[in-house]
């Protein structure tokens, strides 16, 4: 029974990593008003939202199965309070940090209409911290991911994220500040005769 929990925890952990990679990429796609080929715009936003909730569901199972597995002792609370587990304190602690950020993001997004826009955005930007922390948790706490095709999978996810973030930063660098926007439109439309 224990082994089943252990395998389940590792499997759901990997799936969660893949889902979170998709969620972050989709989040960047929403911000950039990008499209998924053949799908309407609301598909990008809906997919981003739904996959984020699915990721958390997988993480919940990932945590519960790890706790229920009696081979090592992991208190349930250490899933949300970082660095409180006896087993692999550092790596699991990072997982808790990442999960805490995700929970804050989800709660603030559910209450979005009532919240200050700047506060919502500040918390949502923590996604860029949450993913790398989760990634380090994955590599550090799982020998699976440190070799073979699983390492390849993890590295692949990291490269996709890196490319998406570079894309996002490139856009931010090119963005005309508000005070210059009108001049930019003018320069595209001045008639020269």
């Amino acid at each position: 029974m224990n082994t089943a929990f252990w395998y389940a925890s590792r499997a759901t952990g990997i799936v969660a990593l893949l889902l979170l990679t998709a969620v972050l990429v989709l989040g960047i796609l929403v911000n950039r008003q990008g499209r998924l080929p053949g799908l309407p715009r609301f598909a990008v936003t809906d997919l981003h939202r739904n996959l984020s909730l699915l990721s958390v569901a997988f993480i919940v199972i990932h945590v519960l199965t790890a706790v229920l597995d009696t081979y090592v002792h992991i208190p349930l609370i250490s899933a949300v309070i970082p660095f409180t587990s006896g087993y692999e304190r550092l790596w699991l602690g990072l997982g808790a940090v990442s999960l805490d950020i995700m929970l804050a993001m989800i709660v603030t997004s559910l209450l979005r209409g009532r919240l200050n826009r700047i506060l919502w955005r500040a918390i949502h930007l923590l996604a860029y911290a949450s993913w790398p922390v989760a990634f380090v948790h994955c590599i550090g706490s799982s020998t699976d991911l440190q070799q073979g095709w699983m390492l390849g999978l993890a590295v692949g996810c990291a490269m996709i994220i890196a490319a998406a973030v570079v894309w996002r930063l490139a856009h931010a660098a090119r963005q005309v500040p508000r005070a210059g926007r009108v001049a930019a439109v003018f320069s595209r439309h001045t008639v020269t005769r």
């Binding site: 005070a179 009108v182 001049a183 439109v185 003018f186 001045t190 005769r193």
Partner: protein
């Protein structure tokens, strides 16, 4: 003619002579600038009522409306802010002297020759809404007359609340209510989306009363002489007098205090030449750069009141009145002004940001020699797309200016399409500042 924008604009009260006496003017503008001693000799001390709310009924009876352009009934603003303030415990009053309309010089003139009337009005408005904080928002650095007035009032203890002076950036939108609140709060003078209105939540989230400087001067007189005195001039539905800035051919701009209901011909002339070989007028602009162009043939019976002007789709606004000389090109003037208005967009709202520069470019094309057939249809379509779709009324006012221009200068558009232009004088007539805002500092 280049208007020396930095020189004080002369003023008078219209019409002159016996008619002036009969009309009970001047009210606001003394013949020469008055210091505090002269002000007190003429008007006495600031007539505080002793309790909040006491002035509102008099202001309501007087029928005073805002003189900043929107003509909103003043008593309703006072009552709204007082009510919101009673719930919240704090209110703020701002005297708006930003006068962001480049062609308007009336507030600058008033603040130079009769600053104590404005400052009286500010304190009286503050008392009546229960304010704890008052501000004076100015177009440029405070002139010596204002500083002297404040210092002298301080010595005499006339001001119950200390006045904080803030300079507005030289932006067309700097005098817009939400932009005022943002600027006074330390940020850029950019409009924000309403609701909530500033009378509910403004500076520091407190209910904020923002009144044009001239409005406060009228308030200061109503507090002394009462509403019936105020209604002794003007029309039954739009009582009182108002300050106008007048532009006529071959004349310097002039600030004129006029009774509401004065025929525009009295202020702008009848369009014929001045008899000395000077040009007559080809069209009238009423209400400034968010105002309306009127053809002279309609203009004969129009009077300076919104009931009359509304029939022609116009409104008095902040009182800018211009008679465009016959020897200028109306299309060139309009293209220049709309180029300015487009450059002054806050750039925050998609439709305005995209539409106004395109409209300006289209008008520049019409003002040139020959234009594409598509341009007129484009201008109509873009006008329809920007109207009502910004956070503030900048696109709406611009569209009103543009649409009326396309109608009034229709014949000139046809001439230009054939490569001709009826103008003989290429010098710009309507005043515009130089340069366009490019950085965030230009808005603070």
């Amino acid at each position: 003619m280049t208007t020396a924008l930095n020189m004080p604009v002369p003023h008078e009260s219209a019409p002159g002579g016996a008619a002036r006496q009969a009309a009970g003017l001047p009210r606001l503008l003394p013949a020469a600038p008055e210091d505090l001693r002269a002000h007190l000799a003429r008007y006495g001390p600031t007539p505080y009522r002793g309790q909040p709310g006491a002035l509102v009924a008099d202001v309501e009876t007087s029928g005073l409306t805002g003189r900043g352009g929107a003509a909103f009934p003043v008593y309703r603003k006072l009552a709204a802010v007082a009510r919101a303030g009673a719930r919240q415990g704090r209110t703020v009053v701002v005297a708006n002297g930003a006068e962001s309309e480049p062609a308007s010089r009336k507030d600058e003139c008033l603040l130079r020759v009769a600053p104590n009337l404005v400052l009286d009005g500010l304190q009286l408005a503050a008392e009546t809404v229960g304010a704890t904080e008052v501000h004076l928002y100015l177009h440029r650095a405070p002139g010596p007359e204002i500083l002297r007035a404040l210092a002298e009032r301080g010595v005499r203890g006339l001001d119950r609340l200390a006045v904080t002076i803030t300079q507005a950036p030289p932006r067309f939108l700097a005098g817009q209510e939400t932009a005022v609140v943002n600027r006074l709060g330390g940020g850029p003078a950019l409009p924000t989306f309403q609701p909530p209105r500033v009378s509910e939540r403004g500076l520091g989230s407190a209910p904020t009363l923002i009144q044009n400087a001239e409005t406060l001067a009228h308030l200061a007189l109503i507090a002394r002489y009462g509403p019936r005195w105020f209604r002794a001039v003007g029309t039954a539905t739009e009582p009182g007098s108002m300050l106008t800035t007048i532009y006529r051919p071959r004349a310097r701009p002039l600030v004129v205090e006029a009774e509401i209901g004065t025929p525009l011909r009295t202020l702008l002339g009848d369009g014929d030449g001045d008899g000395a070989g000077g040009p007559g007028a080809q069209a009238w602009l009423v209400g400034g750069y968010h105002g309306t162009w009127l053809p002279l043939r309609d203009a004969a019976g129009i009077t300076l009141d919104n009931a009359s002007l509304r029939r022609f789709g116009a409104a008095a606004g902040a009182g800018v009145l211009a008679a465009l000389p016959s020897d200028r090109c109306g299309l060139a003037e309009v293209a220049r002004v709309v180029g300015y208005l487009a450059a002054e967009s806050a750039g925050q709202c998609g439709p305005c940001l995209n539409g106004l520069p395109r409209i300006a470019a289209g008008l520049a094309e019409l003002a040139g020699r020959g234009h594409r057939r598509q341009t007129r249809a484009d201008l109509e379509r873009w006008s329809g797309l920007v109207e009502g779709r910004g956070a503030c009324h900048h696109p709406d006012g611009t569209v009103r200016f543009v649409r009326s221009a396309l109608t009034v200068f229709g014949p000139e558009i046809h001439r230009h399409a054939r490569g001709q232009c009826s103008a003989t004088d290429r010098a710009p007539f309507l005043p515009l500042p130089q340069g366009m805002p490019t950085s965030e500092e230009d808005w603070t």
